[in-house]
């Protein structure tokens, strides 16, 4: 989606909200964010994994989530597209708004939500199908059958994932014959094919080499013009390089959230400082 479209959308939505309702003003602030998290608590069985998290993510740009292992970054990310629904015996308190809608509302269409909020995993996980079929998978399950349209989407998505040039002559070869870095870009292309507006990435470069990582970082910077990107990373330099905002997680709490430059040069919390300067974690 082009930036101008998006702007038009946001503007029109704001206009809508401002027009009629008394609550218009309060909501305008909400609607210009892609995601609002309000007092989120999350439990695996009786074990609480996230504690009272409140944070807002803007419509565009990259937000990085950092923190030591086991502090709840993955859990948090999976709350945002309700992937945690797949884990039995979990419980959530608080409110998550995605584009202004409460996604844990009983009316929420989870399928539609996951189309809108795409996810890239830590380990590249292409399906054991051809490159083409991997990218066409999303549009296909959402009902698109027309071969020409599928071809178009596959090409556009692979270009979006910065992979087209490398695979255009071998679209029908197994996706698993690609290198790790290529597989991860394929997974990004596969997500782009369903035209999400938000991309969640859970350590997308931790399983691949530095050169491939470089390519994916470049790609993330390109994509963040059109998408909301929330990325979990263990790599401080990476967070500093590519993100606009950074959140520091520690033991299930979001200790600090702010502009990336501030978090890295002038953190307010001692624990944040210790972590970003490498004193623990």
């Amino acid at each position: 989606m082009a930036l101008s479209d998006k702007m038009a959308q946001v503007t029109s939505r704001n206009a809508e909200l401002a027009q009629g309702s008394i609550e218009g003003q309060a909501h305008t602030a909400v609607a210009s964010y892609a995601v609002n998290v309000e007092h989120l608590n999350f439990f695996y069985g009786s074990k609480q994994a996230l504690f009272d998290i409140s944070v807002d993510f803007e419509e565009t740009g990259v937000a990085a989530l950092i923190g030591p292992s086991g502090c709840g970054k993955t859990t948090f990310l999976r709350v945002l597209n309700r992937m945690n629904d797949l884990v039995s015996n979990t419980r959530l308190e608080g409110r998550i708004l995605v584009h202004g809608e409460d996604i844990y509302d009983s009316f929420t269409d989870v399928v539609e939500l996951r189309k809108r909020v795409g996810m890239v995993f830590q380990q590249p996980n292409p399906f054991p199908k051809s490159i083409y079929e991997n990218v066409a998978y999303g549009p296909r399950i959402h009902g698109l059958k027309n071969r020409r349209q599928l071809d178009e989407i596959v090409e556009r998505s692979l270009k979006g994932g910065a992979l087209w040039e490398e695979v255009k002559d071998r679209l029908h070869e197994p996706a698993l014959s690609l290198s790790g870095g290529q597989q991860q870009r394929l997974c990004i292309a596969r997500v782009l094919a369903v035209q999400p507006r938000i991309l969640l990435m859970d350590e997308p470069t931790s399983a691949i080499d530095p050169i491939a990582t470089q390519r994916i970082e470049d790609l993330i910077r390109e994509l963040c013009v059109d998408y909301t990107i929330i990325i979990v990373t263990h790599n401080m330099q990476q967070a500093a390089r590519i993100s606009d905002h950074t959140g520091f997680f520690f033991q299930g709490r979001m200790i600090e959230w702010g502009e990336t430059a501030q978090i890295f040069t002038n953190p307010r919390d001692q624990r944040t400082e210790d972590y970003v300067t490498g004193r623990f974690g």
Partner: protein, 296 residues
Amino acid sequence: MRERHGKSRTKGQWRGAEIIGYWALRSSLIIALLILFLILYDIVSKGIGVINWEFITASPRSGMTEGGIYPAIIGTLYVTLITIAFAVPLGVAAAIYLNEYAVQGRFTRLVRMALRNLAGVPSIVFGLFGMAVFVKFFGFGPSLIAAGFTLGLLTLPVTVTASEEALATVPRAYREGAFALGATRWQVVRSVVLPRALPGILTGTILGLARAAGETAPILATGAAFFLPYLPSSLRSRFMALPYHLFIMSTQHHAISQVRPIAYGTALILVALVCMLNLVAVSLRRRYRRRVARGL
């Protein structure tokens, strides 16, 4: 594995007790193989003589002392087909439910335990159950369908367990990838999980069927006939079957020593049939492995 062991084995590493242990294990294997070989040799050497075109295409004649075993071959094929039609859809569906849909907990654990126990229930019990339920209660009478369903019940625990194992080997990452793209649970099962698990399901199922095809007890009271001059004409017909025919020829016939070669011939055909099914299973598995290696 085996080669690596072989290479890393140097004389110095082996102590006396270990050598004895090694040979104890090794000779157990050799004894088992030897027994298997003897059985096969016995059947093949005594059975091969009677096998000719007539033996597999003609009906028994002269009080079953001459002629072939054609109706028994066909009967076994038919009843196996019914077993497939009964057990495969039901077993695979149950496995899909158990592995993909059911909330894992005490209930699923209980079901799995029950299945494992059911797989160990003697086949004669299944036979009597089939007689009570299919022959009597549903009023099928002794018939192909009653026997087929009974054999189906017998293989169901194996089919469900094997299918579930095959489903469980599909990596979680594939499922999550599909879910994250907005696939429904059924779409995930149909387009990602099943294609991947199918060869495993087939292999397990075929092995179960091969077992069922050779069973006598479950068909004894549910439809197998001592002798029929004609082929079964409908699902409600009685039928001859190889394992039952073999049982008759070796224990119930009025001239047992005279028909001994026919019994051996029948045994050989039955063993060959079961081996063929197993071969199909093995080759499916090999093709599957190659496909996995290629990543498609």
